[in-house]
């Protein structure tokens, strides 16, 4: 048959065979072939599965990453590429004859499509539920803090100390129970403090991934509630200089944020890439519907530099970032005594009301965080060896308002230096089915505390060894892993001026096992059982003193044992025509859960009596459900989304609920995709409603104030792409949050005692890519 076609081509010669072939309706000799490569290393990937959804035809790449699917009919196909450990890729292929198509007379085949597929490796565990924030959804969060950007993900909320300080909460767990990986390095910066927000500039990220559930095997200790991966884009490969400029302006706090990125290469040196990036933020006093909050300004200056070189075989990359911020702490929250606190709660609003002001005075936090990271990899025989080393220095100065004092000294100064090293070996697939990695992690950290001795000076050494293997077989994907961690903690406690050193050793196993099953097109199941552990931090072991702002005297216990979490998390993904739903269920049992238990008698201090809290251990269980639905009411035009989160946290020994757990919430959205409108492309308009319930699940008499009432918040977003000259595009969006200037309080905001939440906030965001 092929010879006849060849003859036909020769006969017609230069006449143009276009019309002839187009008329041949039963022409089914087309083929698709190509190569599948890793996006970062450009290495071919063996064992990738390629599926043509329309016909069900499939192929697997060979050792050279090459594939071929033959005997295809003309038409348009969607080619799906699935590789274990990589993001799924879908491309549309048109097997229609076109005027530009070459006909290679040396080959038997006609209608040839050579499709190179470039796949992105994913760092998250395979069988655990993870959600990625990127693209337009991420662009709409620009200018906000990291915690605020992530709270749109179902199951994620924030723990706030006012609107400027917010920490992400995954399934009710936060601080030391949520690990943040900043560009591949564990973020270490006094994260035990509930008013210590992560010192990360969200602008360095092109992608943020939230892994829900215990992920201890891959990442080590602290990953009890989940892991947040903040990842930048890979460095550019070609020498062309390009970049982007982002600006965001907010009406509330009259805040302006500007961030720019410039990247490129060196024309004669292929494989080399560089990037520089910087962000500036400046805001003044925050406005609530009824009054301004005095001294709530924020100033931030960040920059980062990346440079790297890579070939198919080897690569090295260096990254340096600096984060600096001056955060004003609401003066009305800095109370001196329990009677001060009870007075302001009774008053219902701050005693002092001010106007708008950008000046940041005491009390405030002055924080800087420097990170230097060097990453290198080596490919050989399909195996890959990675080494990441990093050094980060976190300097946190907290300036208090109280007492006669020298105006230049902070009341509290922490200086934390952390060295990390991660060596991982990813072996080539065994029997084309089994992928896995083995790794060694090390950490060396030392802390100095000056001023009030809230936590002592300490030195910490960690070592971890892990192994994870994954198998893909037809509709099933299995994963299992094991890890051992070891920690040595040297504490330099002083009793007066005498040194009383202490030594702690901690060690623990972690394990994970899970499965993903694709029952049929549009229905898949995922189950994971994982363990993670968390040794007590120096604050839980040694703190002793009044926690200002919390109006509590907190005491540590140096006999505390590490927490161990056993997490079972399952999810179902269902897609049918224009409807998509994701249902996640989880149960996290945490042994030796450490929390602050109120004692019977208060502690009497120079500032009066404070409720006395001691760090104790119990057995806690966190059970919850996350539901996400999306319904295309009118295809590509009108989309409805719904997010529901339910969480119940229980103390099994006290037989009561745990405090400070996020209440149930339901978020609904309606989005109109208008396409071309107002001279812009991709214009859209969306309306959002958030309902947060009153937290009814609290132990009685556990707080100075009852959990606040339920509230409704409305917001609207409109945006589009405005085409500029030379093919450039200006992406714009206008957002109005808290549309109706609703007055409300949130249970997870420390400032709920002192004031209501932020009022309406209108913002304009512009992004110019060049």
């Amino acid at each position: 048959m092929n010879r006849w076609l060849l003859l036909g081509v020769l006969l017609l010669g230069g006449l143009g065979t276009h019309s002839l072939f187009a008329q041949s309706l039963t022409d089914c000799h087309c083929l698709i072939k190509g190569v599948v490569k890793d996006r970062e290393t450009r290495q071919p990937i063996a064992g990738a599965v390629l599926i043509l959804k329309e016909t069900g035809r499939n192929a697997t790449t060979d050792a050279q990453g090459q594939y071929k699917i033959e005997q295809l009919c003309q038409g348009t196909y969607v080619l799906e590429c699935r590789i274990v450990g990589y993001k799924v890729i879908k491309t549309t292929i048109s097997l229609q004859h076109s005027a530009e198509e070459d006909i290679n007379l040396n080959e038997d085949e006609v209608h040839l499509q050579d499709v190179e597929i470039v796949a992105r490796r994913i760092q998250a565990p395979l069988t655990q539920k993870s959600t990625v924030l990127q693209g337009q959804a991420l662009e709409q969060t620009r200018g906000q803090t990291l915690g605020d950007a992530l709270k749109q993900i179902t199951g994620v909320t924030v723990l706030q100390t006012g609107a400027s300080i917010s920490k992400p909460v995954i399934h009710g767990l936060h601080s030391n129970r949520v690990l943040i990986m900043n560009n591949g390095i564990r973020q270490e910066g006094q994260q035990w403090g509930s008013e210590h927000a992560p010192e990360i500039d969200p602008f360095i990220a092109k992608r943020m991934t939230v892994v829900k559930g215990a992920a201890g095997v891959r990442y080590g200790s602290d990953a009890i509630g989940g892991v947040i991966l903040v990842e930048p884009e890979e460095l550019p490969k070609n020498g062309k200089i390009n970049g982007e400029l982002n600006t965001a302006a907010f009406s509330n706090a009259r805040m302006g944020v500007v961030s720019g990125t410039l990247q490129g290469g060196i024309p004669k040196w292929e494989g080399f890439g560089w990037r520089i990036q910087g962000t500036l933020k400046n805001g003044g006093n925050i406005r609530t519907p009824d009054y301004f909050l005095a001294n709530t300004g924020i100033q931030e200056q960040n920059f980062s530099v990346t440079a790297g070189y890579r070939t198919g075989k080897v690569g090295v990359e260096a990254f340096y970032s600096q984060f600096q911020t001056n955060v004003g702490i609401f003066s009305g929250s800095h109370i001196g005594s329990t009677s001060d606190l009870l007075n302001v709660i009774k008053n219902g609003e701050p005693f002092i009301k001010v106007d708008f002001n950008r000046q940041i005075e005491r009390p405030n936090q002055l924080i800087s965080h420097n990170l230097l990271k060097i990453k290198t990899f080596r490919n050989f025989n399909g195996n890959r060896l990675n080494l990441i080393v990093g050094r980060q220095y976190n300097r946190r100065a907290e300036y208090d308002l109280h007492g006669p004092q020298a105006t230049t000294n902070p009341a509290l100064l922490f200086r934390l230096t952390t060295f990390t090293g991660d060596l991982t070996f990813e072996h080539k697939p065994i029997a084309s089915k089994v992928n896995g990695q083995v790794g060694l992690s090390g950490l060396y950290q030392y802390n100095f505390t000056d001023g009030r001795p809230l936590i002592p000076d300490f030195e910490q050494k960690n070592l971890g060894l892990f192994l994870i293997e994954r198998v893909v077989h037809q509709k099933w994907e299995w994963e299992a892993g094991v890890r051992y961690d070891w920690r040595k903690l040297d504490v330099f406690q002083f009793i007066g001026t005498t040194l009383d050193p202490r030594l702690h050793y901690f060690g623990s196993w972690s394990g994970t096992s899970g499965v993903v099953h694709t029952a049929r097109e549009g229905l898949s199941f995922r189950v994971n059982f994982g363990t993670a552990w968390r040794p007590p931090n120096p604050s839980e072991l040694y703190s002793k003193g009044v926690h200002h702002g919390a109006a509590a005297y907190e005491e540590g216990d140096d006999q505390l044992k590490p927490e161990v979490a056993y997490n079972l998390i399952g999810s179902v993904d269902y897609t049918h025509k224009r409807f998509r739903a994701e249902l996640g269920v989880y149960r996290n049992l945490i042994q030796n859960f450490i929390y602050l238990k109120p004692q019977a008698e208060p502690i009497l201090t120079i500032r009066g009596a404070f409720p006395y809290f001691k760090n104790v251990q119990t057995q806690a269980v966190f059970t919850g459900i996350d539901v996400d639905t999306e319904w295309e009411i009118i295809t590509n035009k009108l989309i409805h989304t719904q997010k529901l989160a339910y969480l119940r946290a229980y103390d099994l020994r006290q037989n009561n609920y745990l405090v400070l757990i996020p209440a149930n919430r339901l978020e609904s959205g309606l989005r109109w995709q208008l396409g071309k409108a107002l001279k812009c492309d991709n214009t859209y308009f969306s309306l959002n409603h958030l309902w947060v319930d009153r937290q009814r699940r609290v132990p009685p008499n556990s707080d100075f104030m009852e959990p606040p009432a339920a509230y409704h918040l409305w917001s609207v977003v409109a945006g589009g792409d405005l085409p500029l000259s030379k093919g450039k595009v200006l992406q714009w969006s206008i957002t109005v949050q808290n549309l109706f200037d609703t007055a409300y309080r949130d249970y997870l905001n420390r400032f709920r005692y002192y004031a209501i939440e932020q009022g309406r906030n209108s913002s304009v965001r512009l992004k110019w890519s060049f």
Binding site: W269, E270, G271, N285, A294, N295, Y309, V314, V316, I335, G336, S337, S339, D340, F351, I352, V354, D355, N357, Q359, E361, L372, I374, T376, R378, L387, V389, R391, L401, H402, G403, P404, Q405, N409, A411, T417, F419, G421, Y444, F448, T449, D450, G451, R452, P453, P456, D457, F494, T497, L499, K544, G545, Y553, E555, I603, L604, T605, I606, R607, G608
Partner: protein, 187 residues
Amino acid sequence: MKQLPTKVPLFLAILLFIGGCGKKEQPTPAEENELITTVRLKFTENGTTNTQTFQWKDLDGDGGNAPTITSIVLRASRTYKLDVEFLDESSTPAVNKTADIQSEADKHLIAFTPIPSSLFTYTAGDKDSRNFPLGLTGTVITSFTNMGTLRVQLRHQPPINGQPVKNGTITPGSDDVNVTFSITVAP
């Protein structure tokens, strides 16, 4: 096309570790900047040179040993001059903080609250630059025989956003000191 030898990145990584592990400072005992451990009330009966001193003392700061509080005993229907002192006795020599408070009179107010309020009346004898009372010295006029408590507060009332907030009442600001004595007005 230049090819980086693979040994270079590993070498850089090791260098980073070694370079970082240089001389490290030694841990030193922390010192709290501002600590008030003692509140001293000195009552001098008008027309005499007898001075009675009552103290609220917590030498090791918050927590640790409980504070020691001496009970106040005054005579009924008398007028006393009341002087207050604030000290940091956590280290030797003790630091007298009273002068600091005096120099920052515009930001401080010492308030005396007897419960029941009929125990005595207090009038401050000193003023700050805006003519508001300070309370480091004053007059106490006791009434009839009674028993109760006396709350002594040192209010810190600094200006907010450049605007002074001190207005002579205890409402603005926050507590630097909030101690309670038991008091007996004897016949």
